[in-house]
């Protein structure tokens, strides 16, 4: 484990049992991600990259092995702590945006802050600056259901950033976007990278192959990592 590692994964296995059938989704994964790195997990759907992302984000638990984030194991934390971890350290961007369609952009962005017992003023301030960062302030009071795909994605980014997490996890972020919006998304991602966020993108979109600021592309196949193409830190 290097000193600068923010995420360390050791001998990670994940299997699901359905009846007598044991399906191994992740097999002996070892991965180390450094602070400020931008990593692209590449693979076809079913290769296990979403599951790996879920486990890194504390949304799912491994069947065996270790996941350390900032030196602390997160694979066996009680709910209160793992939830706190998700709220504080992780910004999630989902494939389907996963917004609450009946709420406004502002209200959507507010959600991760609610358990934190902040005052309304503090929340307003954080939401405001986060919307600005994602370049969607002009739609702050619009209902999420009425936004376009690209706008939805930017609200989702604002929501992922609102608690100022160190790690941003993106699950197929461009799957539901056209090329234009995908490029815009990548541009915002670049800004986040410059801000020093650690970014992990799980995707099969070829647009990310040529990502100028990606430090590493890690191909995944059938639940295993198959080598990695390192580009070195910029």
């Amino acid at each position: 484990m290097t000193e600068n590692a923010i995420i360390t994964i050791e001998n990670l296995n994940k299997h699901f049992k359905s009846g007598d059938l044991l399906s191994k989704v992740l097999k002996d994964i070892n991965l180390e991600i450094e602070r400020g790195e931008c990593i692209v997990l590449k693979g076809v759907s079913g290769s296990g990259k979403t599951t790996l992302l879920s486990i890194m984000g504390g949304l799912d638990r491994p069947s065996s092995g270790k996941v350390l984030v900032e030196g602390e194991s997160i694979s066996k934390l009680p709910d209160l702590h793992i939830s706190h971890f998700r709220a504080q350290k992780i910004g999630m961007i989902f494939q389907h945006f996963n917004l609450f369609d009946h709420l406004t952009a502002t209200e959507n962005v507010m959600i991760p802050l609610i358990p934190a017992r902040l005052s309304m003023d503090e929340v307003d301030q954080k939401v405001h600056s986060s919307l600005k960062l994602a370049n969607i302030s002009h739609k702050a009071e619009s209902t999420a259901g009425r936004l376009s795909g690209g706008e939805k994605q930017r609200v989702a980014i604002a929501r992922a950033l609102v608690s100022d997490p160190a790690i941003i996890l993106c699950d197929e972020p461009t799957a539901n976007l056209d090329r234009d919006n995908s490029l815009k998304f990548i541009e915002i991602l670049g800004q986040l990278h410059e801000m020093g966020k650690t970014i992990v993108v799980a995707t099969h979109d070829p647009l990310f192959d040529t990502l100028s600021f990606a430090n590493r592309v890690v191909p995944m196949e059938d639940g295993s990592l198959v080598g990695s193409i390192s580009k070195g830190l910029q």
Partner: protein, 322 residues
């Protein structure tokens, strides 16, 4: 069927108690399963399921505590209104003593509330730690609470099923009054010494709490409740009723006295509960519980002020003591 069992309030009360018991039974079965199968180090699906089920136990206990607390007030109120149906009873005191179960039931209720509160304090601490360090203690605590509540629910039905509406009961003046000059106070105390003890113990409680003397705080607190009970019944109560011969812990809960009894006894018992819980947590589990202790001190101070206030107001108004 006894007409007592058909009284609205008794039906509502017994129904609520039965529902709570049903929920607790679910929680009890889950707790047994947890106690047998729990293995925190395991990554198995079973362990995660148990951890989730522990939350159901918590949810049920929280709900039970809130309802039991409301039901205690409701119980006292219901008993009070039953005094119309039971011959000879002027207030809850008579109805409570209508059979042997009444007093036992009231004591059980006070005890159960205390232990539920203790369970919640332990649970809170347990959830905040990273490896459920107290889960066995709290599970066994719940198992014992469940057994006591099972007894209580039985006594509930026994009590209300055995109130005779023909047999006259004693009213509070015979139950608590000084008959033939006999001294009702414990250890042959007289009123003067009782009062001195009351205030001395209050000072002791405050002093030991503020100087973090945990064991002496707990001892002082227990002695204080004991003495405070007698002080209210045999001294402060008479100023609430403005009648030197009226000794009764229940009449002050009535409308005639603006329900002040709920405030007096509420402040004393809740204050004591929180104080005891902070001590148990600190001595037994080595956990700092400053907030509970401070709230406890505030409530006990309100209680003492309230009691003293009744005497002071009476004196200011009438220029004499009773």
């Amino acid at each position: 069927m006894s007409e007592i069992l058909l009284s609205n309030q008794v039906i509502v009360y017994l129904l609520s108690e039965s529902i709570l018991f049903g929920l607790l039974l679910i929680a009890f079965i889950i707790t047994l399963e947890i106690l047998i199968k729990w293995d925190f180090g395991s990554y198995s699906e079973q362990q995660f399921r148990l951890e989730r089920r522990a939350y159901l136990v918590m949810t049920i206990l929280l709900f039970v505590f809130v309802v039991k607390f409301l039901l205690l007030i409701y119980f006292v109120f219901a008993i009070d209104s039953l005094s119309l149906l039971v011959p000879g009873a002027m207030c809850a005191a008579g109805v409570i003593s209508a059979n042997d179960y009444g007093m036992l039931l009231l004591l059980l209720k006070l005890l159960i509330l205390f232990f539920l509160l203790l369970w919640m304090a332990i649970n809170r601490y347990d959830l905040q730690a990273k490896n459920y360090p107290l889960f066995r203690i709290k599970s066994w605590l719940f198992v014992s609470i469940f057994l006591v509540i099972a007894i209580e629910t039985g006594v509930d039905f026994a009590y209300f099923g055995h109130i005779d509406t023909l047999e006259p009961v004693n009213c509070c003046s015979t139950l608590y009054g000084q008959l033939e000059g006999a001294n009702p106070l414990p250890f042959g105390l007289n009123t003067m010494i009782l009062l001195i003890l009351f205030y001395l113990l209050y000072v002791a409680v405050m002093a030991s709490a503020l100087s973090s003397q945990r064991v002496s705080f707990m001892v002082a607190l227990l002695l204080f409740v004991f003495i405070a009970y007698y002080s209210v019944v045999y001294f402060f109560g008479t100023y609430i009723y403005e009648l030197p011969t009226h000794n009764c812990p229940f009449c002050m809960l009535q409308k005639e006295y603006y329900y002040v009894g709920y405030l007096v006894w509420g402040a004393l018992f809740v204050g004591t509960y929180l104080g005891l819980i902070s001590s148990v947590m600190e001595i037994g589990l080595k956990v700092e519980r400053n907030r509970e202790r401070m709230v406890a001190l505030a409530l006990l101070s309100i209680f003492v002020l309230l009691c003293t206030g009744f005497v002071a107001i009476y004196y200011l108004r009438n220029g004499v003591f009773l």
